[in-house]
Symmetry: C2
Subunit: 304 residues, 2 copies
C-alpha cells in the first residue's frame, strides 16, 4: 500500500494524503459493453482499458496518478471473468503505482465506472485553455488505428491478420501518455487527450482557448497499417475516429526543439500537425495548399 493511503478499502471511505503545495486532480469514466468495448473484448483488455482511459485524462492534465476507486456492475458471479479483469486492471495499476482505495459492486448488465485521482504541483496543471494564436499543434503517437480496428470488427474493412492484430492492440490496450504529460507541464500551453476523435477533441481545446486552427492533413501521424490503406480510406478515420488516447497539445513555436527531445526520450513520435490561429474555425490544408472539410467531427454518445 502507498504511504499516502492512511485508510484504503474496508472502511466507509478512503483516507488519502495529497502532498503539500499540490492540487488534487480527479477524473471519472463510465464504460459499458457495446459502447466502450466491443462484445468480443476480453475481460483482461476491459480491465486494462477501463484504467487506461482514465490515466489518459490525467496525462492530459500533466498529473501524477495515485489512487483509484472502482464501481462495477457484473452480470453474475463469474470468478474467472473477474480474475481476468483484475489481471488487466492491476497490471496497469502496478505499472503506475496506483492503489485501489474504494469499490462497490452490484449485479446487473456489465458496467465499469472508474474514478482516478492524482496530483499536480499547485498551478502547474495542463488545461484545455491556454493555446494562443501562433502556437504549434502536436499529436503524440498515431491516429486512427483504434478506428480501423472497430471498422474491421464491424465487418466494414478487410485487414490481413497481422494488420488486424496490430490495430486491435491499439483499440483494446491503449497506452496512456502519463510520463509524457508530466514532462509537458512546463512545455505545453494547452492539452487534451484524443478519445472522441482528433477533430472533436481539438475543437474542445480550441473552444476552451477561444482560438481557431489550421491543420496540415499530410502531416497527420498514421501507422504503417493505416498508410497501406490510405488510398482507400483517406484521412477520415485519423480525423474522426475515437479511442486513440493520444495527447493533442499546443506549445509556443520556440519550444519546438525541446519537444523534439521528448520524442527521443519516450520513443514515440510527437508530430506537429498544425498551427493555432485567431478566430474559432478549423481549416484543413493538403500539401498543395488546397482547403478541405471533413465530413464528420467525431463520436457523440447522444448524437444523431
Amino acid at each position: 500500500m502507498r504511504s499516502d493511503v492512511s485508510l484504503g478499502i474496508g472502511d466507509d471511505a478512503a483516507l488519502l494524503d495529497v502532498p503539500a503545495e499540490h492540487q488534487l486532480v480527479t477524473t471519472t469514466d463510465v464504460l459499458i459493453a457495446d459502447v466502450h468495448f466491443h462484445s468480443s473484448a476480453t475481460p483482461h483488455s476491459i480491465g486494462h482499458k477501463a484504467l487506461a482511459v482514465n490515466l489518459s485524462d490525467l496525462a492530459a492534465m500533466g498529473a501524477t496518478p495515485a489512487w483509484a476507486t472502482l464501481g462495477m456492475i457484473i452480470p453474475d458471479i463469474d470468478e474467472r471473468w473477474l480474475e481476468k479483469f483484475c489481471d488487466g486492471f492491476f497490471y496497469l495499476a502496478k505499472l503506475y503505482d496506483i492503489d485501489l482505495v474504494g469499490g462497490d459492486t452490484a449485479r446487473g448488465p456489465l458496467m465499469v465506472a472508474i474514478q482516478l485521482m492524482g496530483w499536480v504541483p499547485r498551478g502547474a496543471a495542463l488545461k484545455r485553455s491556454g493555446a494562443r494564436s501562433g502556437d504549434h499543434i502536436y499529436i503524440t503517437g498515431t491516429l486512427g488505428d483504434a478506428g480501423l480496428a472497430l471498422m474491421h470488427l464491424k465487418g466494414l474493412r478487410d485487414l490481413l491478420p497481422d494488420q488486424a492484430a496490430t490495430v486491435r492492440q491499439r483499440l483494446d490496450y491503449p497506452c496512456p501518455r502519463v510520463e509524457l504529460g508530466i514532462q509537458l507541464r512546463s512545455l505545453a500551453s494547452a492539452a487534451i487527450d484524443v478519445s472522441d476523435g482528433f477533430v472533436a477533441d481539438l475543437r474542445h481545446l480550441l473552444r476552451c482557448s477561444a482560438v481557431g486552427a489550421e491543420i496540415y492533413l499530410d502531416e497527420l501521424p498514421i501507422s504503417k497499417v493505416y498508410q497501406s490503406l490510405y488510398g482507400e480510406i483517406g484521412w477520415e478515420p485519423a480525423l474522426t475516429s475515437g479511442d486513440d488516447y493520444e495527447l493533442c497539445f499546443t506549445a509556443a513555436p520556440d519550444r519546438d526543439d525541446e519537444i523534439s527531445t521528448l520524442t527521443e526520450l519516450f520513443d514515440i513520435p510527437i508530430t506537429r500537425v498544425g498551427t493555432v490561429t485567431i478566430g474559432s474555425d478549423i481549416v484543413f490544408f493538403d500539401r498543395e495548399g488546397q482547403q478541405h472539410s471533413p465530413k464528420h467531427t467525431g463520436y457523440d454518445h447522444f448524437g444523431v
Copy 2:
C-alpha cells in the same frame, strides 16, 4: 463554484484544493434499478438518494463533503427524467455546498455511480477500528423503517396510507448525518453507517476493532410506525433490513453526557443500544436478560 475548485467540469479532469493539514476522504457507490431503488422510485428520489448514500459514508468518517463526480448510464434521452433526477441531486448538493466537478454519461440500462470527496483534519477521521471493550454502542435516528417500506412495496406487509408514506420517505429520501458525524470526530471511538442492516454493519465495525458486543434488543430505536407493528414483526427488520443510513458508533462511557447534548443539538434521537465486549461475537439480550439469535444478519448482494 466553490473557491477550492480551480477547474470543474469541462476539462480532462477536475483540479481541486484540499485544505492544508487536512486529508482527502473519498467514497464511491454504484446504484442500479431494482437493487438499490424500487422500480417505482421517482427520478427525483433517485437523484437524492444517490448522493445521500455517499454523504452517509462521509458522515461515518466525520468528513466535510466538498466535491462529487457523477457517472450515469441512462436508457434513452429523457429530458424530463433527467431534469427531475438533477432536481433531487442538486437540491441535496446545494444544502451541503457540494460542487459537481466531473461526470460521464452513456446510454444503457439505468445506473448511477457517484464518487464523493471531502476532507477531515489530519488524523481526525472516524474509522471502523478504534472501539474498545466497555465502550457504549449508539445508533442515531431509528432502525427498520426503510425495510418496512420495501416489505410494503413487495406486498409482504399491509400498511395504512399514512404509515406507508412515512416509511417510504425513509426509504427514498434518507437523511445523511453529516453534521452529526463531524461533531462525533472528537467523541466517538469508531463509526460506520447503517446501509446493509444494523447487525451486518455492526459486525464490520466489530471486526475492524477486533471486539465483540452485547446488544439490548429492547433499546433498539424504532419509529412509531414500527412500534405499531412490533407485535407482528418483532425485532427482525430493525436488526437486519438495510437502507436506513443512520450512524452506528461507539464511545467511551464517560462521553455519555456529551452525546446526550448532540441529541438536543440535532433533534434526532441518539440511543445507546449496547456495549462493546472482548471477543468477537454479538450477543443479543431482551429486557428479561434472555439471550436471542437473529435469523439473518443483513443483505449481501452476492449472498445466497
